[in-house]
Amino acid sequence: MSLEPQTFTVTRADLVRYAEASGDHNPIHQDKSVALAVGLPGVIAHGMYTMALAARAVTAWFPGAEVVSFGCKFTNPVVVPADGAAEILVEGVAADGDDGLTTVTLTVTCAGQKVLGMPKAVVRA
């Protein structure tokens, strides 16, 4: 079953708030010169920020459902511009198992490029 695609935006200000809320103050998420110095294309979103957006999509699709497992790889960085926002599109397909669990296979893209590898959540819907 295909689920309604969800769109989210992420700005530099979001990354500042997320750093504070999560404790992840890695400067590659704030400071372009540091990001470039370690070989990144620019200030990038925390992988866990993008993963949190994927989790928001799962919650929107299955409100109140308990999440049993959730995982992904971080395959491409989400570059967040100094002005404006990066847009994240989260798509999903759900399959019900015999065990009462639903597996949600996600596709998470930014500007048409997949940013998470094999993102998948299992929920007790």
Partner: protein, 132 residues
């Protein structure tokens, strides 16, 4: 400098108890563009304690956080986190490989509550980027 191979299998000391407050949940939810409704924590919230465990580990091994890029994260949950929980994470280094001048670290962190019961287990792959 490559990370020492003898780390594999080592368990690091548990993080100090972390009290999950409604304020912390609200801050986490709003930072990711949502609205906190007073319910259980978002699925990725346990990263707060898992990240603290990782930071302690990196400090102990004198690895610079800025050289770390996140490769993979997986959570397996026993139950959702709720406000009022007191959580601790215990990190174990599961694997270490060197590829193209980078260290690829695999860690597993057990997140437990005040009673010692497992709340979730989370595994991470961390890429430590070597000096260019």
């Amino acid at each position: 400098m490559p990370i020492d191979q003898s780390l594999v299998g080592r368990e690091f000391p548990p993080t100090p108890p972390y009290h999950v407050s409604e304020e912390a949940l609200r801050a986490f939810v709003t930072a990711t563009g949502g609205e906190y409704d007073g319910g259980p924590a978002p699925a990725t919230f346990p990263i707060v304690v898992a990240f603290a465990a990782m930071n302690d580990f990196l400090d102990a091994e004198q690895v610079e956080l800025r050289r770390i890029v996140h490769g993979e994260q997986r959570f397996s949950y026993q139950r959702p986190v709720v406000a009022g929980d007191v959580l601790t994470a215990t990190l174990t280094v599961a694997s270490l490989r060197q590829i193209g001048g980078n260290d690829i670290l695999g860690t597993v962190s057990a997140v437990t509550d005040e009673s010692g019961a497992l709340v979730c287990s989370t595994s991470a792959t961390l890429v430590h980027r070597g000096e260019a």
